[in-house]
Amino acid sequence: MECVVQGIIETQHVEALQILLQGLCGVPKDRVRVHEFCLKSGPNLGVVPSEVRLLCDLAQPTPTWTVRHAGGAMRGAGAEQLSVLVRSVVESKVSNNALRFFYAVGYKLDHELLKIGFAFRFQRVVPITVTVTSANRMPRLHAIDDAVPLTPGIQLVEITAPAAGDNYNEVAAAVSSFCEYLVPLLHLSKPGVSTGIVPTAAAAASSLLSNSGGKAI
């Protein structure tokens, strides 16, 4: 289970966001370079259509593979009131032939992306991960070297934190509280609820850059 919020930011303000995050988190950023395969169940496979994501982490000296399945979001009045989405998530490290395996058992490639950016992983009441990435599509199958931005000039910001049935309220509160620090630059909301870019971003970015001398640590 995890708590998640998402938002978007213009690429020109990403450096300012990085400075802000570095100051807030106090940890060095990690490079993100992930080849993501979205696989969907083939026709008439399974009681309901399903989707898994295979993530190949290219930032490691030796690429590592993870399979991820995000289940449905938590529902009900309590969930509605939360400003973050709570959903079940299972992730498992797998060997490098996972794509072959899922093809064999009836899953088809729906789309693939190359996500490039950075992440901050830190502890603030609970472990929190902030990732800032640009999504790139490939003109040809698996051609990551030719990837081009899917949304030029816009990057995705995602904040996630692991949660459990007995602590998701606490985790959601920690994530919401952290989001408030980022408000001048971007607005974060539940995935699928688009809030667009914020009008104060340019001024906030300019202020952050001038205060830091324009350099991310």
């Binding site: 030796t62 690429p63 399945h69 490290k93 060997s95 490098n96 064999a104």
Partner: protein, 265 residues
């Protein structure tokens, strides 16, 4: 002197390339073929164990239990996808999920179908992920259970294979692990010699029947000479089908699967 195992299974030490897969020490699996006309029974298993325990310096070090789950693809109505439908859709609709007693943090899937031959290694929680997908069902579970021994540089597991209740078992298996080396090629003659010694001992003690090797088609599944836990997963899959075919007289589909897994001598 028995050297220490260098690399116990790590949940995060797998994947990426063949080199980073879970490394274990070479193992060889065999099953007991009873004398013509006789059956696999508890007294026979007791005889095999008694004979094994007769080796001078052998020490019992514990119990073991491996679990093999047979997964089958299901359709929108929740019914199993038939062989004919799977074949027309080129679907790997039957595969095995394997949990080893000595590697609790990892799990293996083996697809033993022509055109789909694959061994996947994953963290153990992939079982939860697979059940959440709602695309596959467990059709049945097989267990391998018994005792574990240490004899010099070798570790031995002897036990039985059963479906639901231990008393209704379908085969006797023996696993030999050679502790000092990880290359199968180098270990092969040593294992062969040890196998010969065991066979001779069983024969001397007049245990009815003999051991036969499970020779799995490692190369068909893309496995290399460096022994990994995936090799063990493949050997147990092959053993399961060898026992299954022996018991049921060989259904056509089982024979196709066992041909994919087993190397015939």
């Amino acid at each position: 002197m028995v050297p220490k195992k260098t690399s116990p299974t790590s949940p995060v030490a797998i994947r990426g390339t063949q080199e980073s897969l879970t490394m274990v020490l070479p193992r060889r699996l065999m099953n007991w073929l009873p004398k013509y006309g006789s059956e696999i029974t508890n007294p026979l298993l007791a005889e095999v164990i008694l004979c094994l325990e007769g080796f001078g310096s052998i020490t019992k070090v514990g119990n073991w239990l491996h679990r093999i789950t047979i997964y089958r693809a299901i359709d929108r109505k929740g019914a199993y996808v038939s062989d004919a439908s799977a074949s027309s859709r080129n679907l790997g609709h039957k595969f095995l999920g394997i949990a080893f007693h000595d590697h609790p943090s990892v799990y293996f899937f083996v697809i033993p179908l022509p055109r789909h031959l694959t061994v996947l290694e994953a963290d153990a929680n992939i079982q939860i992920l697979m059940s959440q997908l709602g695309s596959f069902k467990h059709s049945s579970v097989r267990y391998f259970q018994g005792f574990q021994y240490r004899l010099g540089d070798f570790q031995l597991k002897v036990g039985k294979c059963f479906r639901s209740a231990p008393e209704n078992f379908r085969g006797i298996v023996l696993e030999i692990e050679y502790l000092p080396l990880s290359s199968m090629e180098v270990c092969r003659p040593i294992m062969k010699e040890f196998f010969g010694i065991l066979q001779e001992e069983f024969s001397k003690m007049s245990v009815p029947g003999h051991l036969i090797n499970i020779e799995a088609h490692f190369e068909r599944f893309g496995l290399q000479d460096y022994y990994t836990a995936q090799h063990t997963a493949l050997q147990y899959s092959a053993c399961l089908f060898q026992l299954g075919v022996a018991l049921r007289g060989g259904k056509k589909h089982d024979l196709i699967i066992s041909d994919c897994l087993l190397r015939r001598s």
